[in-house]
């Protein structure tokens, strides 16, 4: 604790505090309160442990587990029936990723190979899906991947009128035209960027924020079936080093994921394999 917080306010500081208090909402929506209360009962896996909900929740948990197992079995059967000799799941290069699994995510409108051992967060049409890499809880240190289908996102926000990349895509829906518009936007904003790789349906850039920020972004822009998709990898702390990411195979693995992405229709019920944070909550206590 320092004393600076006790320096008497002038009119400016007093007004600033008042404004911030006015801008903050007064109440927590009941839905948020209820969903946060459900969190301990919805989490399936944590830090290598398996948390099984207890007491009155057990029946619901068993039912959920049965559904997850059934869906997983169906996914395995479907994969085996369609997989040819050349369609084996790639092996990851990086030690951060234990393996890839094809994720169908109708919530966010994409299908993509994603790391099997990463924690899925979020899962809404607007912000898409987030995968948190293994390691400390702290997002300041580690790797996070996010996936967004802009068409799904824009439809969920109404018109998508506030989304710069969506507007640029509407102006030019070819990969070259879209990314050219984005590059121009970055240049205007003073962003430092480099085109890292070009794939048949995607471009991967590295964005380097201000030196010392401890962040590096790999951003991929892909188009599939006329729909724009964005995959972003954020590396923080000691991982925020492009050379290190390349040497560790993270860039190759990111390119593998981007290369596999396709757009699918928005359908919240079409999430295979099931993700822990998606879907309706278990029945509450009676």
């Amino acid at each position: 604790m320092t004393d600076e917080r006790f320096i008497p306010d002038g009119p400016f500081e007093s007004d600033l505090r008042a404004i911030l208090n006015q801008m903050a909402p007064r109440d927590v929506p009941d839905q948020v309160r209820a969903e946060v209360a459900e969190v301990p009962f919805r989490t399936i896996q944590s830090a290598g442990h398996r948390w099984l909900p207890e007491g009155r929740r057990l029946a619901g948990a068993v039912a959920l587990l049965a559904i997850v197992v059934a869906v997983a079995l169906l996914a395995v059967i479907a994969t085996r029936s369609t997989a040819g000799p050349g369609s084996a799941t790639p092996t990851p290069h990086s030690s951060f990723i234990s393996g890839f699994v094809e994720q169908t995510d109708g919530v966010a409108g994409y299908r993509m190979l994603r790391p099997t051992n990463w924690t899925a967060l979020g899962g809404d049409p607007i912000d898409g899906r987030v995968y948190l890499g293994p390691g400390p809880a702290n997002i300041q240190q580690g790797i996070v991947i996010s996936v967004v289908n802009l068409k799904v996102s824009a439809a969920s926000t109404g018109s998508g009128a506030g989304m710069a990349q969506w507007l640029l895509f509407q102006q030019n829906s070819s990969l070259a035209g879209w990314t050219s518009g984005i590059e121009a936007m970055w240049a205007r904003d003073g962003e430092t960027f480099t085109l890292l790789r070009t794939l048949p349906h995607a471009k991967i850039y590295v964005l380097s924020p201000a030196p010392g920020s401890g962040l590096v972004f790999l951003v991929a822009y892909a188009i599939d079936q006329g729909q724009p998709l964005i995959v972003q990898l954020q590396a923080s702390g000691t991982e925020a080093d492009l050379s290190r990411l390349e040497a560790q195979g993270v860039v190759d693995d990111f390119a593998t994921m981007v290369g596999s992405i396709t757009a699918i229709p928005a359908d919240p019920l079409n999430v295979v394999p099931a993700l822990p944070t998606s879907g309706p909550p278990l029945p509450g206590p009676s």
Partner: protein
């Protein structure tokens, strides 16, 4: 705490109950903070749910229940900062409704207040984060550095530039005919 590998009771159901009590106590403050950091109630709702999920996953590693509020707030701040960074790829140009005054009677505030409100919203995300943590969450500069993982010098610098911009907007409005020039 002997024999415990984390906070609170040992059994799962007791741990769930303890987590529920602690998050419920902290929820309103965290939600308000997240809304200010993100500039959107919709985004804040998602952020709070993500923060609760991470907090629960790491709950066993929290050894001191008295530290829960600061620990949870740190998770919320990190989640919000992560969301703000992701706007580098999905950039939202508008902020839902926060530019509008929320005075109880719906009346527009003084010109300085309106200018200040707009200036806060216009701040770059990193600067707004420092301002919100300093003047809303009432954290010291050292605490802000700890919460955000930034160096103290970086925090001071961001606050300096943010306040400079806010002061400029405030003073300009103060000189207008509708202002309350002091």
């Amino acid at each position: 705490m002997a024999g415990h590998d984390g906070v609170g009771p040992r059994s799962g159901s007791e741990r769930q109950a303890a987590f529920g009590r602690l998050t419920d106590r902290q929820l309103a403050a965290s939600y308000r903070l997240a809304t200010l950091l993100l500039g959107s109630e919709v985004e804040a709702q998602d952020a709070i749910q993500d923060a609760a999920l991470i907090a629960w996953q790491r709950f066993a590693s929290l050894h001191d229940p008295d530290r829960f509020d600061a620990w949870f707030q740190r998770i919320v701040v990190n989640i919000c900062r992560d969301r703000l960074r992701r706007r580098g790829s999905v950039r939202f140009l508008a902020m839902d409704g926060l530019a509008e005054p929320q005075t109880p009677d719906g009346a527009t505030g003084r010109a300085e207040h309106d200018a200040l409100r707009r200036a806060v919203i216009s701040l770059p995300a990193d600067q707004r984060t420092v301002v919100v943590l300093r003047y809303f969450a009432e954290l010291s500069l050292e605490e802000i550095a700890e919460q955000t993982g930034e160096r103290l010098g970086t925090v001071k610098s961001r606050l300096h530039y943010a306040l400079e911009a806010l002061h400029a907007a405030y003073d300009a409005a103060n000189r207008l005919p509708g202002g309350t020039a002091r």
